[in-house]
């Protein structure tokens, strides 16, 4: 085990940090957030720099890295609250495609890494409540899909969807879930786009007899892989966002004066900041643990990830809330940065299965004798 970054990892980290500093300052991001939430130019840069394939082998069109490299990148993106759907496209959909083992899917991964196309996974359903195998969308024997997917993050900027649809069994069975590739503008696909609190965009998509290309007849393992990678990258993003929020707050209380002194002189605020750092490092530790065991058997991985998500949610909510609290009134304004960290950090707890839902996964395992 080695916690120090190697040469390539350092290069990735530095290059993203440099780009972010130059191209993604708070004001630029804010304009983008209230605009359409996406920049083609940024995406081109991500492709040219190889970032879209940071976690991919060279034969898959990547930089030859793995989950660690991807997480390093995600952490840097988290620091600037990236709006573009790096995670939904370059991690969730990409890893899910690779998980299918389908030849066409693999080619698609290369096209994604090259920035030629964007694909997102349409899996989440309203009634899922954090249960990954929940699929009530159905696919008939002729491959026509019927059902509604929700919170498909990044869909407004995608050209293709991976759609999970049930071919047999009950709504929460792990078997009987097929994966299809469906063009975003295919007949029978209806999309309602909307904005999320953190400025990213998502869609609710209904399928009425839409036709797609089958890429996995039994797709749960591929979904599981996709979400496992997405979750660690989400945690990395969260760590980045928490860390930046913490330093912004530190700098603020060192300059803001009340009662004739700067706020950092009040011990209660010092202790609060010490707790913020503690939460951040608890999550980073859980992240490293999950990253190191990403390729273990799925059942074990699920528990590691559940522990990570529980920690992440708790830390993210605490750090976000305290960052605002320590700022006072200015913290609740749109024109200042810290509130936007709060929004992102709150959302991080709720996406890909909430912290509470993951706590239930852990509790059930304990009840079953784990």
């Amino acid at each position: 085990m080695d916690f120090a970054l190697d040469e390539m990892q350092t290069m990735i980290k530095d290059s993203v940090a440099r780009w972010a500093e130059k191209e993604y300052d708070f004001e630029t991001r804010r304009k983008l957030a209230v605009g359409n939430g996406f920049s083609e130019e940024h995406w081109r840069t991500f492709a040219e720099m190889g970032w879209l394939g940071a976690g991919l082998s060279e034969e898959d069109g990547g930089l030859g890295g793995g989950a660690e490299e991807s997480a390093i990148l995600a952490e840097e993106f988290g620091k600037v609250l990236l709006l573009e759907p790096y995670l939904p496209v370059a991690v969730l959909a990409t890893q899910c495609l690779l998980g299918t083992g389908h030849a066409g899917a693999r080619e698609l991964v290369q096209a994604i890494a090259a920035g030629e196309t964007r694909v997102v996974l349409a899996h989440e359903e309203v009634k899922a409540m954090g249960v990954l195998s929940h699929v009530s969308t159905s696919a008939g024997s002729d491959g026509s899909i019927n059902g509604v997917k929700t919170l498909v993050i990044g869909a407004p900027f995608a050209s293709k969807l991976i759609v999970s649809a049930r071919t047999s069994g009950e709504a929460r069975d792990q078997s009987g879930i097929a994966l299809y590739l469906v063009a975003i503008d295919a007949p029978g696909v209806e999309r309602k786009d909307y904005r999320l609190a953190d400025g990213t965009r998502a869609s609710e998509i209904s399928f009425r007899g839409a036709k797609g290309e089958l890429i996995a007849a039994d797709g749960f393992a591929a979904l599981d892989r996709g979400y496992a990678h997405a979750l660690v990258n989400l945690a990395a993003e969260g760590v980045g966002a928490m860390e930046r929020a913490m330093w912004i707050t530190r700098d603020y209380i060192k300059t803001r004066k009340q009662f004739g002194r700067t706020l950092n002189e009040f011990q209660v605020l010092q202790h609060r900041m010490a707790d913020m750092l503690t939460e951040l490092e608890m999550t980073r530790s859980a992240l490293y643990r999950a990253l190191g065991q990403l390729d273990t058997d799925p059942a074990k991985r699920r528990l590691n990830l559940a522990a990570l998500k529980v920690q992440l949610g708790k830390s993210a909510r605490f750090v976000g809330a305290q960052a605002i609290q320590l700022h006072g009134g200015i913290g609740v304004t749109e024109e200042y940065s810290i509130g936007h960290y709060f929004k992102r950090l709150t959302f991080i707890d709720s996406v890909y299965g909430s912290g509470a839902q993951h706590l239930k996964i852990l509790a059930k395992a304990i009840q079953a004798g784990n």
Binding site: A197, Q325, E334, F347
Partner: protein, 388 residues
């Protein structure tokens, strides 16, 4: 000690509830229950309805047009209003400024300002905080200088809630720059006067209630100063003390809890055992807080001898934030969706009952900051009572 509640309060609650059922227009209630900031149109309309009934100033003494209720009736009234979904009224005017006017104002001042406020004809804003005077309010620097029979005011106020709707702003200003607390006066400023500029500040719920107010050589008549010059700090304190028993915001907490339950039933989240436990925990908190509020109201009858206002503020505000978070969670995949303020017919998907949840959740980060932050409240408890 005798802790049974007098049944007359149940009867009073019924009376209020029955009246609200008739008097509150359904569309107005529906808008309020979405929990966005109330529109000025709804405020105006509701103020007029209250005024016509004689219930506009629930806590006002009879002689100034109040209904003559005791404190607990006032709270019951507010609770029922909140639960029914009445629009916010001009709290700054009714609850904060009016008591200062009737306690320290001249007869002329009372006559000038109390009737139009009660009638719903004039709106008020509270101009205390400044960019450099937040928790340390006494360090405020807006100046009022006497010039013949006028004062000339210069300075900047910030976080001034709803002042963009206001006709009048009550301000703390420095009249003696040498003295700290002792050099502060309580003045009324015409919000539409030359020299008053209002800059909107959008909150993280994407709503507009906050403002920054620039006062540039604004002139007020000398008799728009309340009470005595340089004594305003004491008046300001009285105004904040008046609100002490209400600082847990029980009515708002009750409404938020009721809405949370409704929401969680509608989305099915309530079936989740873990979630239901957390709602139950919040409810247990609320019932204790409600009784602490009663103790605060009975302060003179031996109810409390501890810094109850600070404790109510801390736990009430934390509860409100917790309930807000649970509401967002109850919405599941729709919790993070931004629904634009105000009714539109092109809303993103998700249950209608959830439309204002996120905006309210975001805005309520402020409840642990305003009205004396929770850090400041804890310091008060430690110093004033525990003598630490």
């Amino acid at each position: 000690m005798k802790l049974q509640i007098d049944p007359k309060y149940d009867a009073f609650r019924e009376e209020v509830r029955a009246w609200l059922k008739e008097a509150l227009p359904a569309d107005m209630a529906a808008r309020t229950l979405q929990c966005y900031h109330t529109t000025i149109e709804d405020r105006r309309a509701w103020s007029k309805i209250l005024a016509a009934k004689g219930w506009a100033g629930p806590a006002w003494p009879k002689q100034y047009g109040g209904p003559g209720w005791d404190e607990w009736q006032v709270m019951i009234f507010e609770e029922e209003c909140y639960l029914a979904g009445t629009p916010m009224v001009d709290e700054a005017g009714f609850k904060l400024c009016a008591p200062v006017i009737w306690t320290f104002g001249t007869d002329e001042q009372k006559q000038r300002w109390l009737p139009p406020l009660l009638a719903g004809d004039q709106y008020w804003g509270q101009g205390f905080s400044e960019p450099n005077a937040g928790s340390d309010l006494a360090s405020l620097s807006t100046r009022a200088v006497r010039d013949g029979d006028e004062y000339v005011i210069n300075g900047t106020k910030i976080w001034t809630t709803d002042v963009h709707y206001a006709d009048l702003i009550f301000c703390l200003v420095k009249t003696d720059p040498e003295a700290k607390q002792r050099g502060i006066s309580f003045v009324i400023v015409d919000a539409k006067a030359p020299g008053v500029t209002i800059r909107p500040i959008i909150d993280i719920g994407e709503g507009h209630s906050l403002n920054e107010v620039f006062l540039d050589n604004v002139r007020i008549p000398a008799d728009w100063l309340i009470g005595e010059e340089n004594k305003g700090w004491g008046y300001g304190k009285l105004l904040l003390d008046n609100e002490r028993a209400y600082s847990a915001e029980i009515p708002r907490n009750k409404r938020t809890l009721a809405r949370l339950k409704k929401l969680a039933h509608e989305t099915g989240m309530i079936e989740d055992e873990g979630f239901a436990l957390r709602v139950a925990e919040a409810e247990a908190d609320l019932s204790a807080l409600e009784f602490m509020t009663l103790r605060a109201m009975a302060e003179k009858a031996g109810g409390t001898n501890f810094p109850v206002g600070s404790i109510l503020k801390i736990r009430g505000s934390e509860l409100l934030q917790k309930l807000g978070g649970l509401q967002v969670e109850a919405l599941g995949p729709y919790g993070a969706v931004v629904y634009p303020h105000g009714a539109t017919n092109d809303m993103p998907p998700g249950p209608a009952i959830g439309h204002g949840v996120l905006a309210d959740f975001m805005y309520r980060r402020a409840v642990t900051i305003y009205g004396g932050s929770n850090e400041i409240q804890r310091t008060i408890i430690a110093k004033s009572y525990l003598e630490l």
